[in-house]
Symmetry: none
């Protein structure tokens, strides 16, 4: 017995709104342990909506969850189309009429005639109350299906789901088994390389292991079915530990961890502090570090040395080095890192200088060339060179530059 | 002849990601005038994917646009499942193998064996090149269908769509009547207030005007149908000008404009320069300014003065002021703006100091209290106080702070 999410609305087909309802409902179904194999979006068209119901029934979906099309306007057709599909008459629900009238009175508005339409429900269906809006949904067990309908407005839908649909589904026996997941996060290894190293885990069924990638980060999701988060964790944890061991330093954290929060924890545990000097990233690295609440314990600040005069005046970069090698060079990266560390009196100084594009590249120094510098009070002087490739966007190069700077600092601190 | 969007990925069924690909593609189909009645989401399961293809074909969809499932791992099954549905063998594309090998070499990484899988395409299909990632898609005209596949990573998909899929679809006769839109952008006015001011425009049919809002920005999309962008613009422009006039200074730019690019244009036209001093935003303002290519002409850099010692040592903030009033105060905002302007020798210094939360708030200075300072060589000394409210997230407060700093500078420069 599986569920299908059916979102009705021409505005979705025109791309005018993002289908956040489908994501919310998908998460909720996973939490309740209700299998869910399909989502469908269809316009406000009776024939097509009926076709979608027939398809869902044919492919074995037994719980149909509709969003959208419950409003008062003529193009809101969901309820009447569902009733028509099952050749069932619509009846006016007196309590709903009373509720709608009262809501209009509360807002000192007059109820429009077409609002009466919202009180029509198929004979045999129950009202799914909408505490915040005028359009209620229905819960209808008809043929071999259970049908639940919600308005398209996310805030109304979410409250109706939580207050009525979840208790109803639990009363039907769902939610005894939940799916609980942890996300392991990796940097500095490609999705395919990581997948090869841990390929045997993809065959597991309890927990399952699945890879994802995006913006340079690779993730493994480890999920278990159980009747409680604690028991699921008991199933997940040994596998998560094995995966971390296999990945070594490429693993940086789990769940809500970021490269910045991981670096922060390491610095905190060592009682050390950090300052940053940013050229092409223009503040991205500082923004990532300060996105972590409590980062003021180890992050002192930095200098955005976008112009060369700032590199010279605030960071003490040698004008001759700038003349001879240019701002995008290993020597300047080193001097920036040292300069910001000294100026801000921190343990570590981390710097980025590069060419984010789209202009400014040359044969020698193409777009995507980035130097990352690290300077430490212990005498550490390091530079890493990256060539991210001219095919990448300005924002992509800036993002990768800042993440790799954090990653290099992380690896260096962990290996010391 | 209509299109269907088919998004493949168990992560969508688990609600782990929002289906932004479907929204993008839906908008693009509308722009090209390609009818589109259904969207389907299905997991990484060959039988179910085949069922979805059969359903799409049955209900008359003739252009099937797939996203997801093109990666190198065993659960990436889209290409082979499509080939299998049409009982067509997979062939290795030599050019794709060469491309993938080169991309790995550029990043100094070794190609994993399972990356070869990404070069397999159905016999008779053409490669849909992926300039930014390793997984190419296909364009395949098979039976009575046209099949296009894209990876699930939005940035890769969007570029492939724009560079190859759109020209291909146009070559097939689509896009002769297009929907062309301009987006007008507003800051400092709420969606409902703007909607009230321009409500009569919502009844227009050529062009149409529709409001959107998010992250503090309000947008009006003005769209016209025509057979050329130039003719559409003739329909759009007079209405766009009227809307701008009604909104006055709340309008800041159109289409790709950002508050940062708008401020940049004003500074450039005046031959003036800017430096920033950031406390709670930690680099966000600098990042926004430097996201604009060419910003080095007017943006010199800044100081991330997260710690008070940095405010004192690099910006010359008076330690007594910090002691007496605290870092989050109008005086400190003024001193930061003045300090960074003097240090970086710019026309303008713009500063932000505030409490981004979630901790650190008090009855006097709640989370969400933010001061923005502006200092000019002409003697300008201004501070704006914002109370964004404790209900907002840390990132929300930081984003609003940086945007409002840019907006205040914009309004001030335009009113001088």
């Amino acid at each position: 017995m599986s569920a299908e999410i059916i979102c009705v609305g021409t505005e979705l087909l025109l791309g005018e709104i993002l289908n956040s309802n489908a994501q919310f409902l998908a998460q909720e179904l996973a939490n309740l342990g209700i299998p869910h194999y399909y989502q469908t979006v269809v316009g406000d068209n009776p024939d097509r909506i009926k076709g979608v119901i027939a398809t869902a029934q044919y492919r074995g979906s037994r719980i149909l969850i509709f969003t959208g099309g419950l409003g008062p306007t003529p193009d809101d057709l969901t309820t009447e189309t569902i009733a028509d599909f099952f050749q069932t008459p619509l009846l006016e629900d007196p309590e709903t009429i009373a509720n709608i009238t009262q809501k209009f009175a509360q807002n000192n508005r007059v109820m429009a005639a077409n609002n009466r339409k919202q009180a029509l429900i198929p004979q045999g269906a129950k009202i799914l109350p909408n505490p915040t809006g005028t359009a209620p949904g229905i819960i209808w067990q008809v043929a071999d299906l259970t049908i639940l309908t919600f308005p398209g407005v996310p805030s109304e839908m979410i409250r109706m789901w939580q207050e009525t649909a979840v208790p109803f589904l639990k009363s039907q026996g769902w939610g005894k088994e939940i799916i609980y997941s942890r996300t392991l996060r990796f940097w500095g290894i490609g999705e395919s390389n990581l997948a090869e190293k841990v390929s045997k885990y993809f065959d597991l069924t309890q927990p399952t292991v699945a890879p994802y990638a995006g913006n340079g980060e690779v993730r493994l999701r480890v999920s278990a079915r159980s009747d409680s988060p604690a028991k699921a964790l008991e199933i997940i944890t040994p596998v998560a530990i094995e995966l971390q061991k296999i990945a070594g330093l490429d693993y940086f954290g789990a769940d809500e961890a970021t490269l910045a929060s991981t670096v922060g924890e390491i610095l905190l545990s060592r009682g050390e502090t950090l300052a940053v000097a940013e050229s092409c990233t223009g503040g991205t690295l500082g923004q990532m570090l300060t996105a972590v609440a409590g980062s003021s314990s180890y992050f002192m600040g930095g200098v955005i040395s976008y112009d060369n005069t700032v590199k010279i005046n605030l960071l003490g970069v040698n004008p001759k080095t700038l003349d001879r090698l240019g701002a995008v060079s290993d020597k300047v990266a080193k001097q920036m890192a040292r300069g910001v560390r000294k100026q801000l009196k921190t343990t570590w100084g981390l710097s980025i200088t590069g060419i984010a594009g789209p202009g400014g590249g040359s044969a020698d120094k193409p777009v995507g060339l980035v130097y990352i510098g690290l300077s430490g009070t212990d005498g550490t002087k390091l530079v890493w060179k990256y060539t991210f490739g001219e095919h990448r966007s300005r924002e992509g190069i800036r993002h990768l530059s800042a993440c790799n700077a954090l990653d290099q600092l992380r690896r260096y601190l962990l290996s010391k």
